[in-house]
């Protein structure tokens, strides 16, 4: 077979892939941009609020309670702390107020002079990096970043470097002259590479320096374990082993006794360092220090774990939970308006509960305070920009590809829980699912538009067809990919047409005979006076 013919078997699908990919991306970009432009240029107007007399005392009370911070005393008593602003001789003065649950003002004064010691909740997301951040940094025009942990006996000196080998999942140590000094893996620090066992797939890393050292210590979370790696002390310690369970999240409560930005003024010396490890199966493990203690507790299935905070004093371990009426607010902003209309257009209940976590892991309710919050502010009728965005999106989504729509539904759930190291799946998830950009809003309309594209392709291709197989293939292709398919078809298959001299219909020139009547191209008109003798 000649190369010219053989190459067509590769070039034809390659061309289709190339054009289709570009057209699909162009359409996706349009589907991003157009609704965004609509949103940008048509801002909504919030309801001006009900005109009328000043709010009633009950309404003012509701607002005060709703806006106050709810603090617990160690015995479980709940106080409401709010701010009050008054104008005196043209100057505004704010003062802190402490109320009890029966609307009695217990105290007011300067914020720093609060009369009671309330329970503190020194929780923070440690300043580490999740796997997505770690891996996203790895490749760029400036080359991959390398995780290199130094060992610094003093401020000026670096004696060792420990470099993380991504593919091998362990650290390799080098001295200051570049000679290998050891390997650090899940089984500790070893001298030879064949002795070390790799870590599991890393999920989370954070690092800090102990009070008396310049050498960073790592907290290294993999799927099932949490390690503390101290290269200066040459130790790899397993802090927590979830066995077959998979660690989902780590939260720290005063864990490292380090003053962070958020707690500059707070004094958490009364609280034991605590680390909460949540697994995917719903277990919550609490790792405490001073003294070391590990216990497990479960929260009710309908709780949102992120609304629960833990504080461990010397004697007790407390858990605080904030609850609100209705399901949690959806993360995607396009779904929030419906949620608001359904659950927040009228006053709704909120509550805060204080529990004690017992050594057996059970939660004992100490106190609960419930209040009614005013409804959310809403947009005037027809002025919600999200409605316009949705409408614009509705129209632009009609040109989405039905096949990809189907594939995205099918694979979305599979991909969204994918946990592969390379995270390219995560990138696809972001494109497909995070913004819901490949999910059409009305499948019937989308299919109808696809059918229209098929009709256009059919009208275009009927007179140009060279074979029925090719013609049918393209019709199916256009139907599967909608506008992108039609554009791809036109880019690759558009050829000129002429009028057939015999039947008068349009015919293509890719074949010698007319597709309708079978006649070939006409012979030219010969003159009697032509001097053609040598043929």
């Amino acid at each position: 077979m000649k190369l010219k013919h053989a190459i067509k078997y590769v070039a034809a699908p390659s061309g289709i892939i190339m054009y289709l990919t570009l057209f699909l991306i162009g359409i996706i970009i349009l589907q991003f941009i157009i609704p965004g432009i609509v949103l940008l240029f048509t801002p909504g107007q919030l309801s001006p609020g009900l005109p009328g007399p000043e709010p009633t005392e009950a309404e003012m009370r509701q607002q005060r309670i709703s806006g106050a911070s709810k603090e617990f005393l160690p015995d479980g008593t709940v106080h409401l702390l709010s701010w009050s602003t008054t104008e005196i001789n043209g100057e505004f003065k704010s003062e802190r107020q402490v109320w009890d649950v029966n609307d009695n003002l217990l105290w007011s004064g300067e914020g720093r002079e609060l009369p009671n010691e309330y329970l503190q909740w020194p929780m923070h997301e440690p300043s580490g990096s999740y796997r997505e951040d770690i891996t996203r940094q790895m490749f760029s025009p400036l080359f991959s970043r390398i995780l290199m942990v130094p060992v610094k006996p003093s401020e000026e000196e670096i004696t060792e470097y420990w470099r993380y080998e991504r593919g091998k999942r362990y650290f390799v140590g080098f001295d200051a002259k570049g000679r290998k000094i050891g390997y650090a893996g899940s089984n500790g620090i070893k001298q030879f590479s064949n002795q070390v066992e790799p870590f599991g797939q890393v999920k989370y890393i954070c690092s800090w320096c102990p009070q008396d050292s310049y050498s960073p210590v790592l907290l290294w979370q993999t799927r099932h374990r949490l390690y503390k790696i101290d290269f200066l002390a040459r130790s790899v310690e397993v802090i927590f082993d979830a066995q077959q369970e998979e660690i989902d999240k780590i939260l720290m409560y005063n864990w490292r006794r380090i003053e962070s930005y958020y707690s500059a003024d707070a004094n958490y010396s009364e609280y034991r360092p605590a680390m909460r490890l949540d697994t995917k199966s719903g277990d919550h493990h609490l790792w405490l220090r001073d003294p070391n203690e590990l216990l497990m507790f479960r929260i009710p299935a309908d709780w949102d774990p992120e609304r629960a905070s833990v504080a461990a004093t010397k004697d007790k371990i407390f858990l605080r939970y904030y609850g609100e009426q209705g399901p949690p607010q959806p993360k995607h902003f396009l779904l929030q308006d419906e949620w608001e209309k359904k659950y927040r257009s009228s006053p709704f209940q909120e509550w805060v509960e204080l529990y004690q976590i017992e050594r057996t892991g059970t939660l004992k309710l100490i106190n609960r305070f419930e209040w009614t919050s005013p409804p959310y502010k809403t947009f005037q009728s027809g002025q919600d920009p999200r409605d316009r965005y949705k409408k614009a999106r509705y129209y632009v989504k009609t040109i989405s590809s039905p096949l990809l729509d189907l594939a995205s539904h099918w694979y979305y759930n599979k991909l969204v829980y994918s946990d592969r190291e390379d995270d390219f799946a995560g990138f696809i998830i972001f494109l497909m699912g995070e913004g819901d950009y490949y999910q059409t809003t009305n499948r019937t309309v989308n299919l109808a538009v696809s059918l229209l594209m098929v009709c256009l392709a059919s009208w275009h291709g009927c007179s140009r067809r060279t074979s029925w197989a090719s013609f049918v293939f393209w019709l199916v292709f256009v139907g599967a990919f909608n506008l992108a398919g039609l554009l791809t078809y036109l880019a690759l298959m558009h050829t000129p047409v002429i009028k057939c001299h015999a039947c008068g219909r349009r015919r293509g020139l890719e074949r010698v005979d007319c597709v309708w009547c079978g006649n070939e191209l006409p012979q030219p008109e010969r003159r009697k006076l032509d001097l053609v003798f040598n043929n």
């Binding site: 067509k8 070039a11 390659s14 054009y19 990919t21 990096s129 025009p141 400036l142 320096c209 310049y214």
Partner: protein, 234 residues
Amino acid sequence: MRFIALVKNQLQEILGGLIVVVIVFTFLSGFILWSGIRHPDPYHYSEYSGITPGNTVSFYTLLQRPKPLWGVGPVLLVSAVILGAMLASQQFAEQQKRRTWAFTIHRSVSRSTILWARFSAAVIAFILCLGVMWTMFYLYVSAMGASPCPLPVRVLIEGWIFILLGLVIYFGAALSEVSAKKKYTTKYFGAVFAGMILVLALVQLSLTLCFAVIALALVILVSDTMDTFLSREF
């Protein structure tokens, strides 16, 4: 003999551009390396100066660029892209502009030989201009011990990936030049596709996937260019 004559002809034609690229790349990269190596405490020390006792350590402090080569990366990538675009322009656009295709095509060789000669000349150009220089820079830095830790081989591989991306740009631009479609329709889709692959390759987190993306792109572009050239009318 005929193939070699075609390759030689191509290399002669693009020689001027190659020399310029080699000189600029070598000069810029050499300067960057020299500046990096001159630093009294090379590699990471200055980057770690923010580490103090009792404080959290920002993760990005621990994520280090492979100094002093990291500054060469963007120069290498940009040089590869420019070289690719320039080669495609000289090999295909110039011929179209000067209307010498008929003279070129009417050779006692097949059209595919003419095309492969061009491709081979381009690959040789990339290897000689950028590949050799980049490998020499890497070996020099490794041998000199300009960093306390030996540079991982991954850095060398990533540099070669940039060169491959330049080759992708070359094929994309070549496809655009060879295409007989109108400029306001899909003529430049080849170049756009190559640009998209460049971005897609750089967002990959695994080298294996990166190579896979590049390999797939090369298959698509090379086959499409071949088919277009073999069936094109001049």
